[in-house]
Amino acid sequence: MPCHLPYIPQRLHCNGRPDINQFYLHEYLFRRCLEKDKENPFLTISLVDVSVNRSGPPDNILSVPGDVLFNTSPGKYGDTERLNMAVTPLQITELTENNNYIKRQTIVKELKNQPNEHTCSINLRHKKEECMYPHCAFEIYYDDIELTFENHDDLIGRNKHLRTWCKNELAKMIIKEEVRITWSFDEPES
C-alpha cells in the first residue's frame, strides 16, 4: 500500500524498493530522542522498537538527519507533521565480515548446581516502511527469540544481567555517537 501522508517527501517513499541487506562503514544512523535523554540514555532505552533511519550507501544517500523527525505514525504521535525532538547521529565504525551489525553476549550462571546459559544479541536490520524507506531497527533477540512488547517481560525481563548489558550497549552507542561491535576501551567484565 503506497504512502498517503502528504507531507512525507517522495524520496522517502518506499515505492517498491527492496531493503538493502548490508550496511557501510562510516554510514550514519539517525536516532530520534529528546534532548534531555541524551545526558543519560539508559533511563529511557527500551529493548523493543529501537528504530533509526539510515543515511544509505555513499553513492546513494537515502536520508538526512531531519527526516527521522517526520511523523509516520499520526495515530500514535498526534497530527503534527514533524516531531519536536532532537536527532542523535550514530556513525557505523565497525561491521561483521558480511557488512552487518550483530553483537552477542552469553552469560552462564549456576542454577540448582547446573550451568544455565542464555544469550542476547543485537542485530541491526533495514526494515523499510511505506512512508520511510530508510527505516531500520535494532532487533533484540533473547535465546534466538525476537523481543516484542508481549514477550519482553517473560524472556529478558527475567534475566536482569543480560537486560542491563543490552541496554548499556545501546546507551554506549548514543553517548559515543558510534556503532561498533568491539569498543576500543572495553574492559573485561569482572
Partner: protein, 163 residues
C-alpha cells in the same frame, strides 16, 4: 498553618530530584503535594543544603515507588553516600537519582570523562556502568552483582565518584 515560602531565585538549578525544582515547577496543587512529601521525609526540610545525599535518597524512596528490594538497597547506598559526603569535595558529589524504563532505579552522574550509572534492578541486583565519552581515553566499565548481601557499598560509591 502558615504556608512555607521558599525563595528559589538564588538556588542553583540541577536536573532530577532537586526538591526546589519540584516545588517551583508545578501547579499549586502539585506543589502542595510535594510539600507534604517533603514534610514527611525526615531531613529534607531541615538540612542546610538542598542537594545533600540524604535528602536526594529520601526523596527518591518517597516518589520513585521502589520495590522492597530497591528500597533496602537505596537505604544502604544512602548510608554509604552519607559517609563519603564528609570526605569528598562537594563539587564532585553531584549526582541524580531517577527511574528507568524497566523500573530500574539509577543513581547517576556526568563527569568530564563520561556517564556513570549505578543501576538497581527491581529484584535488588545491581549493575555498575561507566561509559566514557569518545575522546576521553578512559576504559568503559560494566559490572553486575547478583548477590548483594555481602556487598561493599562504600567501595562502589568511591568508584562512582572516581571516574
Amino acid at each position: 498553618m502558615s504556608e512555607i515560602i521558599i525563595d528559589t531565585n538564588n538556588i542553583k538549578q540541577d536536573k532530577g530530584l532537586n526538591k526546589y525544582n519540584l516545588l517551583q515547577s508545578q501547579s499549586d496543587d502539585i506543589r502542595h503535594q510535594y510539600n507534604e512529601v517533603f514534610e514527611l521525609v525526615q531531613g529534607s526540610l531541615t538540612t542546610v543544603t538542598d542537594n545533600d545525599a540524604q535528602s536526594k535518597f529520601n526523596v527518591a524512596i518517597s516518589i520513585l515507588e521502589p520495590t522492597a528490594h530497591q528500597t533496602e538497597t537505596l537505604i544502604r547506598f544512602r548510608d554509604s553516600f552519607k559517609n563519603i559526603e564528609a570526605q569528598i569535595d562537594p563539587e564532585r558529589l553531584r549526582f541524580e537519582v531517577d527511574k528507568a524504563a524497566d523500573n530500574e532505579i539509577c543513581i547517576y552522574r556526568k563527569s568530564i570523562n563520561g556517564v556513570t550509572n549505578i543501576i538497581i534492578n527491581d529484584d535488588g541486583s545491581i549493575a555498575f556502568s561507566f561509559i566514557a565519552y569518545k575522546d576521553a581515553n578512559k576504559n568503559d566499565v560494566f559490572d553486575f552483582y547478583d548477590n548483594c548481601d555481602q556487598f561493599d557499598y562504600e567501595s562502589l560509591v568511591f568508584k562512582f565518584f572516581s571516574l
